[in-house]
Subunit: 117 residues, 2 copies
Amino acid sequence: MAARRGPYFCGMDAAMDVVSGKWKSLILWELAEHGVRRFAQLRRGLPGVSEKMLVQQLRELEEDGLVRREVFPEVPPRVEYTLTEHGVSLNEALAALGEWGAERMRRIGAEKVVYAS
Amino acid sequence: MAARRGPYFCGMDAAMDVVSGKWKSLILWELAEHGVRRFAQLRRGLPGVSEKMLVQQLRELEEDGLVRREVFPEVPPRVEYTLTEHGVSLNEALAALGEWGAERMRRIGAEKVVYAS
DNA sequence: CGGGGTGCTTACCAAAAGGTGGGTACTGCA
DNA sequence: TGCAGTACCCACCTTTTGGTAAGCACCCCG
Protein backbone atom coordinates (compact mmCIF):
# COMPACT_ATOMS: atom_id res chain seq x y z
CA MET A 1 0.00 0.00 0.00
CA ALA A 2 1.13 3.46 -0.83
CA ALA A 3 0.45 4.82 2.68
CA ARG A 4 -0.97 8.09 1.49
CA ARG A 5 -3.08 9.49 4.28
CA GLY A 6 -3.53 12.68 2.29
CA PRO A 7 -3.59 15.15 0.81
CA TYR A 8 -6.97 14.29 -0.61
CA PHE A 9 -9.36 15.77 -3.12
CA CYS A 10 -12.37 15.16 -0.93
CA GLY A 11 -13.91 12.78 1.58
CA MET A 12 -14.50 10.10 -1.03
CA ASP A 13 -10.83 10.11 -1.82
CA ALA A 14 -9.91 9.75 1.85
CA ALA A 15 -12.38 6.92 2.36
CA MET A 16 -11.25 5.03 -0.72
CA ASP A 17 -7.68 5.37 0.48
CA VAL A 18 -8.29 3.29 3.59
CA VAL A 19 -10.74 0.87 2.03
CA SER A 20 -8.90 0.03 -1.18
CA GLY A 21 -7.08 -3.24 -1.05
CA LYS A 22 -8.38 -6.52 -2.30
CA TRP A 23 -9.57 -7.80 1.08
CA LYS A 24 -10.11 -4.80 3.31
CA SER A 25 -13.81 -4.29 2.83
CA LEU A 26 -14.33 -8.02 3.19
CA ILE A 27 -12.34 -8.13 6.43
CA LEU A 28 -14.36 -5.24 7.79
CA TRP A 29 -17.50 -7.07 6.82
CA GLU A 30 -16.42 -10.28 8.53
CA LEU A 31 -15.51 -8.45 11.70
CA ALA A 32 -18.80 -6.56 11.72
CA GLU A 33 -20.74 -9.79 11.34
CA HIS A 34 -18.93 -11.79 13.98
CA GLY A 35 -17.79 -9.11 16.38
CA VAL A 36 -14.50 -10.71 17.19
CA ARG A 37 -12.40 -13.02 15.07
CA ARG A 38 -9.06 -14.74 15.34
CA PHE A 39 -6.53 -14.81 12.52
CA ALA A 40 -7.30 -18.33 11.37
CA GLN A 41 -11.03 -17.68 11.54
CA LEU A 42 -10.69 -14.72 9.23
CA ARG A 43 -8.59 -16.77 6.87
CA ARG A 44 -11.22 -19.45 6.72
CA GLY A 45 -13.93 -16.85 6.28
CA LEU A 46 -12.21 -15.34 3.24
CA PRO A 47 -11.62 -18.17 0.81
CA GLY A 48 -8.66 -17.44 -1.42
CA VAL A 49 -6.82 -14.97 0.77
CA SER A 50 -3.16 -15.77 1.34
CA GLU A 51 -1.70 -15.47 4.80
CA LYS A 52 0.63 -12.73 3.69
CA MET A 53 -2.18 -10.64 2.29
CA LEU A 54 -4.33 -11.15 5.34
CA VAL A 55 -1.55 -10.03 7.67
CA GLN A 56 -0.75 -7.07 5.47
CA GLN A 57 -4.30 -5.83 5.17
CA LEU A 58 -4.96 -6.32 8.87
CA ARG A 59 -1.87 -4.32 9.72
CA GLU A 60 -2.94 -1.48 7.49
CA LEU A 61 -6.44 -1.46 8.91
CA GLU A 62 -4.87 -1.36 12.35
CA GLU A 63 -2.59 1.53 11.39
CA ASP A 64 -5.58 3.41 10.07
CA GLY A 65 -7.34 2.90 13.38
CA LEU A 66 -10.17 0.76 12.06
CA VAL A 67 -9.25 -2.55 13.63
CA ARG A 68 -8.00 -3.42 17.09
CA ARG A 69 -5.47 -6.21 17.49
CA GLU A 70 -5.21 -7.92 20.82
CA VAL A 71 -2.48 -10.45 21.52
CA PHE A 72 -2.87 -12.97 24.32
CA PRO A 73 0.50 -14.19 25.58
CA GLU A 74 -0.47 -17.82 25.56
CA VAL A 75 0.78 -20.96 24.00
CA PRO A 76 -0.43 -21.64 21.39
CA PRO A 77 -0.61 -17.95 20.48
CA ARG A 78 -3.98 -16.25 20.31
CA VAL A 79 -4.68 -12.96 18.56
CA GLU A 80 -8.11 -11.39 18.40
CA TYR A 81 -9.27 -8.77 15.95
CA THR A 82 -12.19 -6.41 16.53
CA LEU A 83 -13.48 -3.24 14.92
CA THR A 84 -12.75 0.07 16.60
CA GLU A 85 -15.51 2.67 16.77
CA HIS A 86 -14.18 4.17 13.54
CA GLY A 87 -14.23 0.74 11.96
CA VAL A 88 -17.84 0.34 12.98
CA SER A 89 -18.87 3.69 11.52
CA LEU A 90 -16.99 2.94 8.30
CA ASN A 91 -18.87 -0.30 8.05
CA GLU A 92 -22.15 1.50 8.40
CA ALA A 93 -21.14 3.76 5.55
CA LEU A 94 -20.14 0.75 3.50
CA ALA A 95 -23.46 -0.97 4.07
CA ALA A 96 -25.18 1.16 1.43
CA LEU A 97 -22.47 0.23 -1.03
CA GLY A 98 -22.89 -3.44 -0.18
CA GLU A 99 -26.59 -3.19 -0.87
CA TRP A 100 -25.95 -1.51 -4.21
CA GLY A 101 -23.47 -4.22 -5.10
CA ALA A 102 -25.91 -6.98 -4.24
CA GLU A 103 -28.49 -5.29 -6.45
CA ARG A 104 -25.94 -5.07 -9.24
CA MET A 105 -25.12 -8.76 -8.91
CA ARG A 106 -28.78 -9.53 -9.46
CA ARG A 107 -28.88 -7.24 -12.48
CA ILE A 108 -25.87 -8.66 -14.26
CA GLY A 109 -26.42 -12.19 -12.98
CA ALA A 110 -22.99 -12.48 -11.42
CA GLU A 111 -22.14 -15.67 -9.65
CA LYS A 112 -21.03 -16.01 -6.10
CA VAL A 113 -17.73 -17.55 -5.23
CA VAL A 114 -18.10 -21.23 -4.59
CA TYR A 115 -16.77 -22.01 -1.17
CA ALA A 116 -14.43 -24.95 -1.04
CA SER A 117 -15.19 -27.35 1.78
CA MET B 1 -8.42 -3.03 -15.06
CA ALA B 2 -8.85 -6.70 -14.49
CA ALA B 3 -12.41 -6.78 -15.87
CA ARG B 4 -13.74 -9.22 -13.31
CA ARG B 5 -17.50 -8.81 -13.22
CA GLY B 6 -17.71 -11.77 -10.87
CA PRO B 7 -17.78 -14.22 -9.33
CA TYR B 8 -17.99 -12.23 -6.13
CA PHE B 9 -17.97 -12.98 -2.44
CA CYS B 10 -20.78 -10.56 -1.73
CA GLY B 11 -22.28 -7.23 -2.73
CA MET B 12 -19.40 -5.27 -1.26
CA ASP B 13 -17.03 -7.15 -3.46
CA ALA B 14 -19.13 -6.43 -6.55
CA ALA B 15 -19.40 -2.75 -5.70
CA MET B 16 -15.69 -2.36 -5.03
CA ASP B 17 -14.99 -4.02 -8.34
CA VAL B 18 -16.63 -1.26 -10.36
CA VAL B 19 -15.57 1.60 -8.12
CA SER B 20 -11.92 0.73 -7.65
CA GLY B 21 -9.59 2.72 -9.80
CA LYS B 22 -7.82 5.86 -8.83
CA TRP B 23 -10.28 8.28 -10.38
CA LYS B 24 -13.58 6.48 -10.69
CA SER B 25 -15.26 7.64 -7.54
CA LEU B 26 -14.06 11.16 -8.24
CA ILE B 27 -15.46 11.07 -11.77
CA LEU B 28 -18.78 9.81 -10.47
CA TRP B 29 -18.75 12.63 -7.95
CA GLU B 30 -18.04 15.27 -10.57
CA LEU B 31 -20.78 14.01 -12.82
CA ALA B 32 -23.25 13.90 -9.96
CA GLU B 33 -22.43 17.47 -9.03
CA HIS B 34 -22.61 18.96 -12.50
CA GLY B 35 -25.06 16.65 -14.22
CA VAL B 36 -23.34 16.74 -17.57
CA ARG B 37 -19.67 17.27 -18.33
CA ARG B 38 -17.46 17.30 -21.38
CA PHE B 39 -14.11 15.53 -21.48
CA ALA B 40 -12.01 18.65 -21.00
CA GLN B 41 -14.25 19.85 -18.19
CA LEU B 42 -13.72 16.63 -16.29
CA ARG B 43 -10.01 16.87 -16.85
CA ARG B 44 -9.95 20.35 -15.41
CA GLY B 45 -12.15 19.28 -12.52
CA LEU B 46 -9.75 16.50 -11.53
CA PRO B 47 -6.35 18.12 -11.11
CA GLY B 48 -3.60 15.63 -11.72
CA VAL B 49 -5.45 13.17 -13.91
CA SER B 50 -3.74 12.31 -17.16
CA GLU B 51 -5.72 12.15 -20.37
CA LYS B 52 -4.98 8.46 -20.74
CA MET B 53 -6.30 7.64 -17.29
CA LEU B 54 -9.39 9.74 -17.74
CA VAL B 55 -10.27 8.03 -21.00
CA GLN B 56 -9.58 4.61 -19.53
CA GLN B 57 -11.65 5.10 -16.42
CA LEU B 58 -14.51 6.67 -18.36
CA ARG B 59 -14.54 3.73 -20.76
CA GLU B 60 -14.70 1.28 -17.88
CA LEU B 61 -17.49 3.19 -16.18
CA GLU B 62 -19.33 3.16 -19.49
CA GLU B 63 -18.82 -0.59 -19.91
CA ASP B 64 -20.16 -1.11 -16.42
CA GLY B 65 -23.25 0.88 -17.32
CA LEU B 66 -22.67 3.73 -14.87
CA VAL B 67 -21.86 6.50 -17.31
CA ARG B 68 -23.43 7.46 -20.63
CA ARG B 69 -21.21 8.77 -23.41
CA GLU B 70 -22.75 10.90 -26.11
CA VAL B 71 -20.77 11.97 -29.15
CA PHE B 72 -21.88 14.95 -31.21
CA PRO B 73 -20.62 14.76 -34.78
CA GLU B 74 -19.40 18.32 -34.86
CA VAL B 75 -16.18 20.10 -35.54
CA PRO B 76 -14.55 20.64 -33.14
CA PRO B 77 -15.69 17.33 -31.63
CA ARG B 78 -17.96 17.37 -28.61
CA VAL B 79 -18.50 14.48 -26.22
CA GLU B 80 -20.76 14.65 -23.21
CA TYR B 81 -20.74 12.38 -20.21
CA THR B 82 -23.67 11.82 -17.87
CA LEU B 83 -24.55 9.32 -15.15
CA THR B 84 -26.96 6.53 -15.98
CA GLU B 85 -29.62 5.62 -13.45
CA HIS B 86 -27.28 2.99 -12.05
CA GLY B 87 -24.55 5.59 -11.81
CA VAL B 88 -26.89 7.83 -9.86
CA SER B 89 -27.84 5.10 -7.41
CA LEU B 90 -24.20 4.15 -6.94
CA ASN B 91 -23.44 7.74 -6.15
CA GLU B 92 -26.13 7.80 -3.52
CA ALA B 93 -24.57 4.73 -1.94
CA LEU B 94 -21.17 6.39 -2.10
CA ALA B 95 -22.41 9.52 -0.40
CA ALA B 96 -22.30 7.87 3.03
CA LEU B 97 -18.73 6.87 2.37
CA GLY B 98 -17.84 10.38 1.30
CA GLU B 99 -19.25 11.74 4.54
CA TRP B 100 -17.27 9.23 6.55
CA GLY B 101 -14.12 10.19 4.66
CA ALA B 102 -14.68 13.88 5.30
CA GLU B 103 -15.09 13.11 8.99
CA ARG B 104 -11.87 11.11 8.90
CA MET B 105 -10.01 13.96 7.23
CA ARG B 106 -11.03 16.19 10.11
CA ARG B 107 -9.91 13.58 12.63
CA ILE B 108 -6.47 13.00 11.21
CA GLY B 109 -6.06 16.57 10.00
CA ALA B 110 -5.40 15.60 6.41
CA GLU B 111 -4.82 18.35 3.92
CA LYS B 112 -6.75 18.91 0.78
CA VAL B 113 -5.05 18.94 -2.58
CA VAL B 114 -4.01 22.42 -3.49
CA TYR B 115 -5.51 23.27 -6.82
CA ALA B 116 -3.11 24.78 -9.27
CA SER B 117 -4.46 27.88 -10.95
C1' DC C 1 1.46 30.55 -40.35
C1' DG C 2 1.93 29.36 -35.51
C1' DG C 3 -0.36 28.25 -31.29
C1' DG C 4 -4.17 26.61 -28.80
C1' DG C 5 -8.27 23.86 -28.19
C1' DT C 6 -11.18 19.45 -29.25
C1' DG C 7 -10.97 14.23 -27.75
C1' DC C 8 -8.73 10.95 -28.05
C1' DT C 9 -4.70 6.72 -29.19
C1' DT C 10 -0.30 4.48 -28.83
C1' DA C 11 4.18 3.01 -26.92
C1' DC C 12 6.97 2.72 -23.24
C1' DC C 13 8.19 2.57 -18.32
C1' DA C 14 8.04 2.62 -13.18
C1' DA C 15 5.76 1.61 -9.10
C1' DA C 16 2.56 -0.84 -6.50
C1' DA C 17 -0.15 -4.70 -5.51
C1' DG C 18 -0.59 -9.25 -4.83
C1' DG C 19 0.69 -14.39 -5.16
C1' DT C 20 4.05 -18.50 -4.03
C1' DG C 21 6.59 -21.02 -1.25
C1' DG C 22 9.54 -21.30 2.27
C1' DG C 23 10.78 -20.76 7.47
C1' DT C 24 9.82 -19.88 12.65
C1' DA C 25 8.86 -21.66 17.67
C1' DC C 26 6.01 -23.84 20.25
C1' DT C 27 2.30 -27.40 21.63
C1' DG C 28 -1.08 -31.07 21.46
C1' DC C 29 -2.48 -35.39 19.57
C1' DA C 30 -1.84 -40.03 17.79
C1' DT D 1 8.10 -39.57 15.94
C1' DG D 2 5.58 -37.12 12.92
C1' DC D 3 1.93 -34.28 11.60
C1' DA D 4 -1.40 -30.39 12.46
C1' DG D 5 -2.39 -26.05 14.33
C1' DT D 6 -1.20 -21.22 16.14
C1' DA D 7 0.15 -16.54 13.98
C1' DC D 8 2.95 -14.87 11.69
C1' DC D 9 7.75 -13.15 8.58
C1' DC D 10 10.67 -13.23 4.51
C1' DA D 11 12.44 -13.34 -0.28
C1' DC D 12 11.18 -13.65 -4.83
C1' DC D 13 8.37 -13.13 -8.74
C1' DT D 14 4.45 -11.73 -11.79
C1' DT D 15 0.56 -8.98 -12.71
C1' DT D 16 -1.74 -4.83 -12.53
C1' DT D 17 -1.89 -0.04 -12.32
C1' DG D 18 -0.83 4.39 -13.36
C1' DG D 19 2.25 8.05 -15.36
C1' DT D 20 4.88 10.43 -19.41
C1' DA D 21 5.25 11.78 -23.73
C1' DA D 22 4.21 11.75 -28.24
C1' DG D 23 1.01 11.90 -32.27
C1' DC D 24 -3.46 12.72 -34.88
C1' DA D 25 -7.03 15.40 -37.51
C1' DC D 26 -9.44 19.05 -37.53
C1' DC D 27 -10.69 23.88 -36.40
C1' DC D 28 -10.44 28.90 -34.88
C1' DC D 29 -7.90 33.06 -33.63
C1' DG D 30 -4.50 36.49 -34.34
